[in-house]
Symmetry: D2
Subunit: 278 residues, 4 copies
């Protein structure tokens, strides 16, 4: 028996659940889990089904297309390990968290490479027998460096997602477009949020009582892409900015790993810069 | 157009979603929201649909019964204000929280009475023009007192739920059975949990770093009914047990109100001492 | 035996704890609790002591001034119920939470009045026998209205704190200066924060996974005063903006009450737009 | 200039702060941070000072002993890297979290060895060039196995703390006494707590809405030692017990690392099975 994850989003209208479930019934597909959501503000219908049965993938897709309208987004996925590349700069907390999960077999993905603008984390990555690519930015302008990074990435023919695990350089629209909807970032976003250099120092100066992190898809609006996951931790006046950074790192790594898990399980729809997550 | 909340639970089998959604389609009912869950450990199917359309309630019920098996639990509810009675002893935090929501029109229910074994909270309740019934336990044994409470409650012909908003007396199986699945309690449950007199004092002595609260349906196993909602708050050595009690009260009141909201919106299935909440 | 709360802040230097504790010892004052904090970035020393003993307040103050330098901030407080005025607009959740605590004797303060620009909450407030002052803004410009509010407040000769319990009008610098360090506000601040009309609607459109609240002292920078307390709650795509508002209200009311408790217990120092809280 | 962490606990009495701070002043020690707490229920005084200055450690200790009573607990620590041994069974999440921090230089300790009753985690540990000792329990009774573990540990002459990073065997009183106050454990404790095999499965069956973890010192009462740190995460009916286990692991690893940090910074007093943490 084969399993499929079927993700459908389209304009809402009467009878969608009926038509889709009728097809599953006729094809003798067993529904293992089923989630629907209607965004009534935008008149949009979202559905994610995990089904099990014996049918050819092409046929299933064709049949679904028959039943559904032309302007429907349909993603049919046989659950499989996805290929991911991690990008890092100097900090190891998010990278390390993913490596430990990977080693334990808890990450449903192949880490096919780690790309960095420094060689600092090479020893750590190579302990886990994962190829490390150092693409230094020194002596290069932003475009020049990014061009070399894109070149490096181009060797991965089957790349599903890029995880910015504390990659501290800003991506240009060219990069973002090349991997549209495929880049996940972790952002140290605070309450109120702090932009620019050393956000934890800024947060400390502001005297916040909470620090947090946001995992999101990357779009051209820096730190403004669709939010996947967020969390916070309480702090007080007694925490130095380095203490805050330390606490923030724990929130960052757990939030990023949680978001990546949702991505790898094909649980996320993106619509109008928001996520629907089943 | 009429709205209905349709709650179905039964043994899982192929085609359930198809058959139900087919009926909705034929009856021209528009699905506003739809949730399904399959408990594969217990082979159980749960579905909650909110639909909108023009059809007589009896007809809809009959049609659903036709399509579904005999051993299906079907709850068809036209969204309406439910009638609730609050039971209290001496503490006002949960009661007060519900009264303020009630006054603001934020509680989708009619509070038709407050029953207590003390008269202490009568002045507060009567500010809100709600009848207060003091059924003192003095000079009575447990059964004798409970008999009088049941007598008092029997005057409410259309009573949907009883909310134990810090009612500090243990209910007998007779009482629980009389209002089976209709009693909601808030329990100061800790990590580790403390049973018996003055739980906050016990928690303080144990040196916990978290205190919490659990809202649950009441069954004969004291404090062991299906859990609806839980929350916690961090504490430290500097908190006296009275501080912990104060902080705990905030958790208790918010947790109880949140659970009651889920109950009033018909979002909860109970199965095998667990809840499925949509 | 009398109790005193002694709050001292000054430039840090060697021997401060020694000099102060020596004085307490000589005056036979028993230290019930003692907290110190050195802000080494700013070279500032903060100390809060609760002491018990038999000595005249003037003498104690004089002795402390003798020991400490001229440029020391010294607050000597006999624990007493402070007088507070609540300011509200149309929402009752924060107001109601404070009223219920007040009624239960859990708020260590006298609510000497509630001021609003609407008469909507008058019935609620008067249930608790607290004077309500409606100062309508209709037909008045900002300054004109605020002038009338200040006039209204001027009747309270012994006013310790003003609590903006969802007062939805912006205060001018004149107002803020008139009650410098005495105004506490609750702000629906999100991650990322949203400014302007209907923040919950904005947060919903942004697709946040957390909503929060910040209690702070009011300064001339709107929503930028020293933060006292912050908290958040998790939300998801299934929450409408009205759901978010409902959840947010629970966070707001608990966060404001918690902050007010810290204020009333004289636990807060403000320095450089930050708080030190013992 | 030398730094010292001075931890004092004794029966509370007047003048303690004065006497101690007087000594610091006379010895020209600068107080970097100072915390006091009086447990008035038990009439106990706790103080932790970080001081800086030029004085011989023996002299400082002698002077403190002069000033303080005979029955005072005095710990004088020059901040230094402590030596720790990790004990594990099969799960790598807590171990891995500590290894990544260690590699990044964020753990203020030397991991001098990892001891396990399986060889499963040997490859992971050896990536980080840390000695791994597999002491199999096969064919041995509890005492026999523990005897061999104690033998293995006896090689570490300067062992400060043993961290049970998911070591799944119960320690006997002999072991606990041998390393009294030096063993830290992470316990998957739930609300309500579940004891015995597969706690996450039990929690899932109970239908909890929160799962949590507790880091504590180990005493002879299993899972009943002084609590250092606790945290929880929200779950719902849709989480399988394996999902809960996965989420629980994140709480476990962060809670254990946070507790270990407090231990390594000499921030914890233990008294009457409770912790005072500065």
């Amino acid at each position: 028996m084969q399993q499929y994850r079927i993700l459908i989003d389209c304009t809402d209208k009467k009878g969608l659940v009926y038509k889709i479930s009728k097809l599953f019934f006729e094809l003798e597909l067993n529904i293992l889990s089923n989630n629907e959501f209607v965004d009534s503000d935008n008149d949009k219908f979202f559905m994610r089904s995990v089904v099990e049965g014996n049918i050819d993938e092409q046929t299933l897709k064709a049949k679904l297309n028959e039943v559904l309208d032309a302007n429907v987004n349909l993603h049919l996925v046989s659950p499989r390990k996805k290929n991911i590349v991690l990008m890092v700069t100097k900090e190891s907390h998010c990278l390390g968290d993913l490596l430990i999960r990977y080693e334990a077999g808890e990450l449903d993905a192949n880490i096919i490479g780690v790309v960095s603008n420094y060689d600092l984390l090479q020893p750590l990555v190579e302990k886990f027998s994962i190829p490390y690519f150092c693409v230094s930015h020194e002596g290069l302008d932003r475009q020049g460096h990014e061009h070399k990074v894109l070149e490096c990435l181009s060797q991965f023919k089957e790349l599903d997602y890029i995880v910015l695990a504390k990659y501290m350089r800003i991506l240009t629209p060219t990069f973002v477009q090349a991997y549209s909807d495929k880049i996940i970032n972790i952002h140290h976003s605070f309450l109120p949020s702090f932009i620019g250099a050393n956000p934890y120092k800024q947060a400390h100066e502001r005297g916040v009582k909470l620090i947090g992190a946001t995992a999101h898809f990357v779009t051209n609006d820096l730190d403004e892409g669709p939010i996947i996951s967020q969390d916070v931790i309480h702090v007080n006046h007694d925490h130095s900015w380095r203490d805050m950074q330390g606490l923030g790192r724990d929130v960052e790594k757990v939030t990023l790993s949680r978001a990546l898990k949702l991505v790898l399980e094909d649980r996320i729809f993106v619509h109008k810069n928001k996520t629907v997550i089943f």
